[in-house]
Symmetry: C3
Subunit: 205 residues, 3 copies
């Protein structure tokens, strides 16, 4: 707990904000992927590029923490937050990749609800990252993410029930189940980030 | 290793014991879920309530470790044990939830064997948690959990072989496979808790 | 970072090298499992024995770190590297186990490409572990592992596309999907080990 000097270092916060902005871009691409009018191959290429950019930011966070003698928040928390944000991107990239790979004809409308949840989570996270500097108004952020994760959970269950209703061939169920599970995984990953932020805030208080 | 003062603090041990008692309740509800005579909707609601209570206890553990200056065991181990116990509950809750959601007609009898293993693991864990205070007789606990996890592994393999034997439609295989995998996941999660306890005991010796 | 005395302790490096050598043996057994002429039951028994030997080495690493007052690299990194190497073995063991359990008639040739990648990863890892002592020439190792993981990713996607092409019955798709996913998981686990080594190297520089 607080026995070391805490210099004011803006760069970590800038990098976390950058990471979260990649998530906003990624969630937007995921929404495009679900649209009938999109060229799925092109959207997937742009997602792959966004995922590489996110990887770069994550690498910068790791390099910075390894070369900084006194960190503004616990070293372990910086690693966890950086890799937590990276995990969200990986899950969204996986969802886009599977939609392309599986050549799914008709994506059930329920998937759009999950992507709405993801876009909302990304927006909230990108707005919260700069507030790590002051530790102010973060509780609203993690409370809302928890609420959105519960919504995502309910959407997920409803979608699974629909998948197994007899409406889809078993092979289509297999494909769609993989896709909905990466969407659910991405929402859970946003919640994991919020839990890390809550941990950091509690320690600093 | 032991360079700090270790005050005798009973509260962490009480919270770990509370967590483990939620697991006993959860494993009992899982057994009820498999019974033909149960009202699956009601059992699932009671499981959801037990999972929320377990979450509360986990939150108390995290709050306590963040507000305690000198902890009786390593801070990191308290987090890991608390979240390890929470993970078991989440997996058992998922199994109950899927049994309800998937409206599985006939649950293979093999599932009862896994639930017996889970009930035995929960009982052992609830009896072991208070012994963290003295660090006595913990080896028997983790050795038995390891043995039970091996039993669970053999049950799991046998059940998978049965699922793929041709006895079930492919869509039923998909549903049952998810359920048996969360039961297997819950047993593995109990073993992960035992590994954390072993780590703590070795450090303290 | 470097504020403690670092004694030259060869034993950790010997244990990491031992772990990695188990992975070379395991990848070789996985290759035998894919061969038409092998007795799959016997190969699986030898894999199980190799997995137990790997577990023993992992336990020795944990015991050693818990009984060593000053470690040559961060305690946390020793745990992570030890368990990272163990995770690779678990995934390869799971792949062998499923090939046996699922009694798959015709294993698609694509699986051999993944096993080639795994054998290459195991070889590189076994050659890299002794170099942890000097921290020399490790960058080539993790760069090549990253390249191999990308190859594995492309193989994986191509295999999934083939599985869903209509060439296999849905029940066969279910079985083969599990197998290819454990192969993919093993390759990802090798990359996770390389990331841990990179982290260690960066800290020591």
């Amino acid at each position: 707990m607080g026995l070391r000097l805490r210099p004011v270092d803006t760069s970590f916060y800038d990098l976390f904000t950058q990471s979260a902005q990649h998530l906003v871009a990624g969630a937007e691409l995921l929404a495009e992927m679900l649209s009938d009018s999109s060229d799925k191959v092109t959207v997937a290429e742009r997602m792959r590029a966004a995922e590489h950019a996110a990887d770069e930011t994550t690498h910068e966070i790791v390099k910075k923490v390894n070369s900084t003698f006194v960190t503004p928040i616990d070293r372990e928390d910086i690693y966890n937050l950086g890799s937590g944000l990276d995990d969200v991107m990986d899950m969204m990239d996986e969802a886009v990749d599977l939609i392309l790979l599986y050549e799914v004809e008709a994506l059930p409308p329920e998937l759009s609800e999950q992507v709405d949840v993801l876009q909302r989570c990304a927006e909230l996270t990108a707005n919260a990252m700069p507030r790590l500097r002051s530790m102010k108004s973060l509780e609203d952020y993690w409370i809302e993410i928890n609420r959105l994760e519960n919504t995502g959970d309910r959407n997920h269950r409803r979608t699974l029930a629909k998948l197994f209703s007899g409406e889809f061939s078993t092979i289509e169920v297999l494909k769609l189940k993989d896709i909905v599970e990466s969407l659910e995984g991405a929402i859970d990953a946003f919640e994991k980030v919020a839990n890390i932020v809550e941990q950091i805030a509690v320690k600093e208080s």
